[in-house]
Symmetry: C2
Subunit: 365 residues, 2 copies
Amino acid sequence: MQRPEVLIVGGGPAGIGVAVALLQVGVRPLVLEARRVGASFLRWPRETRLLTPSFTANGFGLADLNAIAPRTSPAYTLGEEHPTGRAYARYLQAVAAHFAVPVLRERAKRVVYREGFFRVGTGRGTLEAPFLVWAVGEFFFPRYPFPGAFLALPYARVGSFARLAREAPERVVIGGYESGVDAALHLAERGVRVLVLDPEAPWERRTGEPSRDLSPHTLDRLRRAPRGRIRFRRTKVLALQLKGEGYVLLTEGGEVRTPHRPLLATGFGDGLEPLGGLLARGPEGHPLLTLEDESTLAPGLFLAGPKVRHGGSPFCFIYKFRARFPIVARAIARRLGRDEGPLEVYREEGMWLEDPACCEVRCAC
Amino acid sequence: MQRPEVLIVGGGPAGIGVAVALLQVGVRPLVLEARRVGASFLRWPRETRLLTPSFTANGFGLADLNAIAPRTSPAYTLGEEHPTGRAYARYLQAVAAHFAVPVLRERAKRVVYREGFFRVGTGRGTLEAPFLVWAVGEFFFPRYPFPGAFLALPYARVGSFARLAREAPERVVIGGYESGVDAALHLAERGVRVLVLDPEAPWERRTGEPSRDLSPHTLDRLRRAPRGRIRFRRTKVLALQLKGEGYVLLTEGGEVRTPHRPLLATGFGDGLEPLGGLLARGPEGHPLLTLEDESTLAPGLFLAGPKVRHGGSPFCFIYKFRARFPIVARAIARRLGRDEGPLEVYREEGMWLEDPACCEVRCAC
């Protein structure tokens, strides 16, 4: 194998997606993936499905919302509108195979930048390249936002809602955005009584912005949910404690007691720690990026995936963060003197967002 | 009211959509609608839903697949991914109101072209304008493709599958593309045993082209359908006859007898008859159009909606035919000397298809 020009850490939609974009412009990437391509999606609860709908409209400049490469479509590969995580991982693996993306099954342990090269330590020695794309996703990094949160069951460790439903007839879910409501719905459909706690009450929110509102798919599911089995409460959880045989949640609205381990659906961290001082962070902890999604501290280090953020707008869905793949690939192609023309197909299919500040979703009706 | 510059016949997605595009460039349209805005959708079977999913991704250049105007989204207006016909009509009415589209509740009876003006006869006299956009849709024009087809119940007259399911415990459905499978699924979910007949067997087809394959949404529904209640048979219906108390279908594979009125889901005609000689037709009966969707015989007459077709590609979904709204509006704006710049927003949102031949959907994976 020729020496890679770009090391990509993470073999999910962002890592494979950037690799495909780089291959279009003749740049040699190498994806480091600790588990398998699509590992995060393989760990999704079995029953959970993508909430953005897939559809094969790419011939009309409207790429499948869940596609990571032009002229591909999970709806086509899988014949499903809302694939499960497992099914979506099959699509990612099909894309990696179709575009012959080089993938090395190794965990990236340390990252060092020295003399124009990123050196990434793995179990089989150190790899190096002049460019590094960090694309580890977020699913493997649950956030524990209050004291005792580690006592709860993170959404990412659920495994199967069918199994969880058999364990207990009632369940408290902490967090009421997509993951929390998804958990509540799957459990309620299996007979569990659920209490969902969230200070923001996302179940009531209608801003038009998909990163803040529940998706139409989830709203549909809520309307069809078994009556009375899910209760929502607008309150903030301040702490979680073990007490006797059960749990006590201290909330702004008083104590909530439950004999069963609460489910934690309060979002995800960012997995950026191994980058240490190579990436600056803003006052709220978000990574600071240039207009090409490059680190402001370490030229050649790019971020891809759901933790990309510009202004107040997170790129937290596939159809959002993929629009930056051609931007990253173009930046690298230019520095290596390659022709960026082949990236035009991303623009044709609506997978191109030049100005990251322009991306708020607002609807008149 | 000022004299309209463009008469638009039909107040569905195509008519209202073209009117909105014309208003962007300062052209005065008048929509003639015999019933109410969204009348076709109001006549859909109560239970039927749009098969293309709605989602609010327009900030990322990915308009809601069912939107007819930029910066609008049925997913936002309705909070649903697959609206019913009734709900979608509410969205159309909201768009017409928001953009102040002038609508006259009159049926267009006759169309005459004389001395540079289209004269459209209505119950309240004749209207005239230098441009005419024909946008009557297809739903009100069932196709009767074999002798005796008129004996069957057209899909467009179903009204309610719940009611139909109560009428008979079994039903033959003629036609196995989206409408036929939709009917079969709704009936089967209500306990009816269904036999679907189609010589093309669309339920087996996987070409990647949405106008030929069943949609991902429908495939999902088929997978969840009650086992054994729907049978599919690849055969062509040649004729339908009344016999005694029941019906006999003569098919290529022999006779099929049923005591209950078969359901006809064999597609739609085009409602172009009132245009008479103003529109040429190709060898297969399709209307012949210029690259601006204008009649090749009568300059100033444009076609909009699902019967627009170029090469072998029908524009038979909303997300397809809406991509021609700005093309028609631009053609008219240019001839009237108006600035076409405001149409750029259609391009930004992926609602713009310049070259109608380029629109086939093909997926690598």
